[in-house]
Amino acid sequence: MNPTNLTIKPTMRIKAFYLFFIMTSIQTGSGIMGVPRYIYMQSKQDAWISVLIAGVLVHIVLAAMFAILNHYENTDILGVQTDLFGKWIGKLLGTIYIIYFFFVLLSVTMDYIQVVQTFIFPRLSAWVLASVLVLLIVYAVMSGLRVAVGITFIFFFLSLWLLVFLYKSVTYMEITHFQPFLSASPLELLQGARHTSYSYLGMEILFFIYPFISNKEKAKLATHLGLGMTTFLILLVTVISIGYFSPGELPEQIWPVLVLFKIVEYSVVGRFDVLVVTEWMMVILPNMILLAWMISHITKRLYHVQQRKVLMVVAILLLIGAGITKHEYFILQFINGVAASGFWIAFVYPIILLPMVWLKGKWKKSKKAGAKT
């Protein structure tokens, strides 16, 4: 048996077209609520340049991921790792992915619960919110990848309209906040770019979902466009936040993007921000569903455990993890930790992996050539 290549039943496959929505949805979630602040703390009014730099770098990482995957016939990262490092190290690296994805999932859940408690229901217990979210995740993932992707597709459009309501904060923007241009040093710009990493996390999903794509020749375009969409969204909220908030205000906001909606007011909806926080569930839910799907899928691939059983364990751990955390500083630290490890796993690792894949390919070829003569 060749463990490297996977054969996926035609009924399980998905079209490359959906990669656009998968990419945008898994990246845009809890990170984007606060990202302008973190970039701004590094590169000040030039934060938007940092976003552009990060955007370019992330596209390079994505190209590297495609190069790795296209080196093989039809595999995911687990197959690649087994092929490169052997069975046991491959398993170990796969397990790291499982733990990492679980922590990302947990951080998203905790962050959203924190937001709901701050903006709407201060007295509502985290357990209730966590169990509602966990239930929805389990329900969606149990129905399989195609349902998860379908939800992603629908929720993308159901939450896209929120962007329209940023118009009010755009009218409050001040050009002087962007001046003087280019006052941040290149190092500060790069550090700002690094702080976008939590918002770009999730693009590793390509490593796992790639074997499921039926028309692979179109996958590149859709994925890069999806990534471009994420960059556009981060750029948009960063530019508006810089213009809207004073230099002293922005570093103090935990969720600047939600605060941007606080200025929107209608006679029918007096407090639009409450609506936005509620609606934000549609932004984070696809995110969480895809993460949970990945965890259960990897575990099944590595340890041949039933996906349903894995999901139950994940659900219980997630419920406990999100239920018992209460302190804001802990959540912020936790997110920072996830962001830091995510930076290495999601962005640096593929870049390191690529030359290894190439070398291995060359070595194989020369061995074959040697065997023939």
Partner: protein
Amino acid sequence: MKRLILVSIFLLLSAGCAPAYPIERLGIINTIGVDSDNEDSQALNTTYVYFQFDPNAKNINEIISSKAKTLKGAREKANVKSNFQLVPGKLRVLMMGRPLAEKGVASILDTLVRDAKITDTMFLAVADQAAGDVLHEVFQRSTTNVGNHLYQLIDTNVDQEILIRTTLRDFMHKYYDIGSDPVLPLISVVEHMPSIERMALFRDETYAGDISIEEGFFIKLLSGRYQSGRIELSLPIEEFENIRQKDTDQREEESLFLSLSELRSHNSIKLVSKEELRFQSDIKVQARLLEISEQLELDKEEVVKKLEKAIEKDINRQINQLLDKFRELKVDPIGFGSIYNAKHPTTQEEWRNLLPEMKLDLNLNVNIIRQGIID
């Protein structure tokens, strides 16, 4: 399908876990008045005007006062006095007493900004005495609904561009911006009714002085744009001696009064010289002449031109007077500092020291486009 039903039932039931807020039991705070206490300098006297939805109550408005060290603490204490649960979600106006404003308001406003329940679009105002006294007097002596009245008083005047918009967000924004100071309406009680008589200037977070509403007009003329403003001017009459139609009016007056309305303005300020601290402002004003106290031949171009020149001269004089006042008080409500800061990054203190040396070249262009239906 069975799974779907189970999930739906669970979701429906879990909605019951969220705390309910029956509106009959809520006191929805509409206006807060905050004052510093006379005896204990750290305590805050807080007055709440709130709505109650009790069908038996005569008055839907209720007023309550309490004293505590923090705003939140004051609300807890007020809650004990009230048979309603006081909630701040629809807070519209925060009025601060002048003694408190003189001490600084940042710590109070900071707690409001921190609270996600409080809207950024609520108005701030300063009372020319203790804010609690203003609210109590209006509440007791007048039949009007004090909370709503105050809000609408500010809101309509902002809408008509008589006042500068002074929401919580605007105040905090100007407060945090380098080289820009907030302005708030100053509310006094005239015949038991609240009235915006003047405007309070702030130096950072502290009350620094006040100007008239008419002077407030020029702040917006210099820092923003008018869509439909209005202004009343009095020009020296000597300038119009020869073009005045004496035969139609026998009154002897010293000044020529006129009022401009539907005033549209556009303005751009830039820093011309860093060393001299010289700014240049190009203001274009288009307005309709609605009222004039003398009969002038307004169908003649040279008369209109002359009038425009005289108006420009007068506005120029008034702006310079106002700027002198700002230099003296070391306040910058127009935001020259933020223009300076955009070119040459500075700090609030540095700018504060530079402020008195600041100069402004004003290029004012007034254009009267229409008069009434009679020449």
